[in-house]
Amino acid sequence: EADIYQTPRYLVIGTGKKITLECSQTMGHDKMYWYQQDPGMELHLIHYSYGVNSTEKGDLSSESTVSRIRTEHFPLTLESARPSHTSQYLCASSDFYEQYFGPGTRLTVT
């Protein structure tokens, strides 16, 4: 079982609200990632980080932002949630080889 945690697991929020999705890992991995996934569909990389104070945008354009102030913590923020942001958000970290995924946050914006 991978030691990577995401909170909340489920979130229903109104349009225009600011939200932060939390992701933490206890494995000491430098590399962390955020993916967006509609149910049963493919994964889209939206942000990644090589280490502290390093963040990059992924392949899918996203209105979200991320920060990496500590190795273990990689939060994702939406300044103003919209219904189009409704999706599942998966956080992952990696060592030299494979990625380890958190359980995901299912976000619904009404």
Binding site: A2, G40, S94, E98, G104
Partner: protein, 116 residues
């Protein structure tokens, strides 16, 4: 460009029969290849990987995969399917170029249905 293709959206197999989930890839350098499984409302779980060495790799829950360099394929297999194997399966490749070494490329996923 780096990419992964899973040509089948869905694979149906009867319990006890062998199963194959197909994956082909395109990468500029040496590929690092992975299979993950996803159950409903969960994250992805690592099944197995190919880095180097023997072309047949064994992983969790009785799954194995065969790396074929000439066909650029990495098909997932299991000799005898279980109903509990029903899930969404993703193939992934890690970029062989040093600059983009940290990026993973995922296929679109294949839904495996194992019927009793």
């Amino acid at each position: 460009a780096q990419s992964v293709a899973q040509p089948e959206d869905q694979v149906n197999v009867a319990e006890g029969n062998p199963l194959t989930v197909k994956c082909t890839y395109s990468v500029s350098g040496n590929p690092y290849l992975f299979w993950y499984v996803q159950y409903p409302n969960r994250g992805l779980q690592f099944l197995l990987k190919y880095i180097t060495g023997d072309n047949l790799v064994k992983g969790s829950y009785g799954f194995e995969a065969e790396f074929n360099k000439s066909q650029t394929s990495f098909h997932l297999k299991k000799p005898s399917a279980l109903v509990s194997d029903s899930a969404l399966y993703f193939c992934a490749v890690r970029d062989g170029e040093v600059v983009n070494f940290n990026k993973f490329y995922f296929g679109s996923g294949t839904k495996l249905n194992v019927k009793p």
